[in-house]
């Protein structure tokens, strides 16, 4: 009887790649899903990287989200701040995985929502929902399949964060 969550070797390789993605995209792009060396891919962000602009766009979006979380966390009660901070750090991981050589510069968001905690949470939810839709669309243009997978996972993360934010009370 097979295990319900039986991992094949290729599965392990895939999941290992996802887990390590936050630390190093280089590892992701040099190990294929089958464990066999791929044809040498362009270095992410290098002039010969056909996805260079896409990486900049997506990682920039992740930086904006990270900055928004940091801003909102400073305005929330401690309990809610801890929850949103935990969600916000995910965007740093996505940014590093998608564009590992980019220099992170977190933009300061415009304080559009005032300081009402419920409105701030709603603003985060709206941003995550929008990011989920954008990532699904952006993944379409990725030439590198590993980049496409990372962008899809970032979109899945955004969608799930929007759901978790529904439960954050202030």
């Amino acid at each position: 009887m097979p295990d319900l969550l039986l991992l094949t070797r290729r599965d392990v390789l895939r999941l290992g790649t996802a887990a390590a993605a936050g630390a190093s995209l280089a590892a992701c792009t040099t190990a294929s899903n089958t464990g066999q060396p791929q044809s040498t891919p362009p270095t992410p962000g290098a002039p010969d990287d056909p996805d260079a602009q896409l990486r900049v766009t997506v990682s920039g979006g992740e930086q904006v989200l990270s900055g928004l979380y940091q801003y909102v966390a400073t305005l929330l009660p401690a309990n809610a701040a801890a929850k949103v901070t935990a969600l916000g750090v995910r965007h740093d991981a996505y940014q590093k995985a998608i564009s590992p050589h980019a220099t992170a510069s977190i933009p300061s968001p415009e304080p559009q929502s005032g300081k009402d905690p419920a409105a701030l949470i709603k603003r985060l939810r709206t941003a995550e929902t929008q990011a989920a839709a954008e990532r699904a669309q952006q993944s379409l243009t990725a030439q590198d399949t590993e980049l496409a997978r990372l962008i899809v996972l970032a979109g899945a993360g955004a969608a799930s964060a929007a759901e978790v934010l529904r439960t954050v009370t202030t």
């Binding site: 319900l4 290729r10 895939r14 999941l15 990725a142 899809v152 979109g155 899945a156 978790v164």
Partner: protein
Amino acid sequence: MTEVESAALVLDGTNAAIYAYGLVAARLTGTEQQRALSAMAEHRQRRDQLRTRIAAQGATPAAAAPAYTPPVAVSDAVTARSLAALVEDRLAGQWAGLAAASKDRARSDAALTAQTCAVRSVTWSGTAPLWNGAR
């Protein structure tokens, strides 16, 4: 991994998820049980679509196993929710893999399905993992 290989992997995971939801639904009641049964029905629909897709590419879709061994004993509502969260999260990762192996409309459809699985996972667990699909 080719598109058909990725689709076969998702089919494996979907078959396991359908089996898992049988275990999950048996331990839940009321609205939660309905949610589990609804998720099972959705995965069955995806399974049928995947089988059709795999066959259309000239491969033979694998049949589901008669039974699967869950990673944890499902003995109450708490463990049932944990299992549901786990299988959905894992499927999110598998659908992301299929999205990467696909093109155009098939890629965006798979990406949105990965999001659906990720969202469903957090509705069972209440928490979002750092990376969906990494468990």
